[in-house]
Symmetry: C2
Subunit: 126 residues, 2 copies
């Protein structure tokens, strides 16, 4: 069964990208999950002086676990430096969510992988 | 990519069971998907005179494709006889949704399997 935090972030996901304003973001990262076929896209805005993440949005057609993981991740990273954000692992996310069912842990890696891809994309462009 | 109908039913799912009033339903069916670990529960109310489905609700922590499939299924079956509803296949649901990406078709079978389990449950109890 799912923790209250997972339920909350699934029912009321934070920081979903609702419109197509992708051009406003400085880094975009996409990743996919072979197991279930789902994809995740993460968008970040970066303050170039401090290399701090000022905004993080995301979008997926994945499951509740992927939604909750990336929702809470997006809250965690706003205000972090790129280095701090890059170091976040699925384990950190699971801890924040008070866990996930064992057979859904594979969904929690989508968000942090896509985030690292977005940070890589930012460095590539800047 | 996803059809407009899939997007609509994912963003605005119909007939989700929001409160725990399971006792009001006459049949409950649950199924799981080994591939991704997701589960689906479908609840039906049945008119005992006509054996017609008068209400159909559902709940899942599965993905957008599972949500959209079961959302549209729940609209299809209200007003059907139990026999008509039992005969619905994943193919019928895909047609109503204007398709799903190939690697997400496995998600569209959760709803109809859980519905048949709910119909079986109704017959077992009555
Ligand atoms: S990936 Fe699990 S139901 Fe779609």
């Amino acid at each position: 069964t799912y923790s209250d935090k997972v339920k909350d972030h699934f029912m009321n996901p934070r920081n979903i990208l609702r419109e197509d304003n992708e051009a406003d973001f400085h880094g975009i990262g996409q990743t996919g999950n072979i197991k279930c076929g789902d994809e995740m896209i993460v968008y970040i805005k970066v303050d170039p002086d401090t290399l701090t993440i000022t905004d993080c949005k995301w979008r997926t057609y994945g499951c509740a676990s992927a939604i909750a993981s990336t929702s809470i991740l997006s809250e965690m990273v706003i205000g972090m430096t790129l280095d701090q954000a890059y170091a976040i692992t699925a384990k950190d996310i699971l801890k924040e969510l008070d866990g996930l069912p064992d057979n859904k842990v594979h969904c929690s890696v989508l968000g942090d992988k896509a985030l690292r891809a977005a940070i890589d994309d930012y460095y590539r462009k800047n």
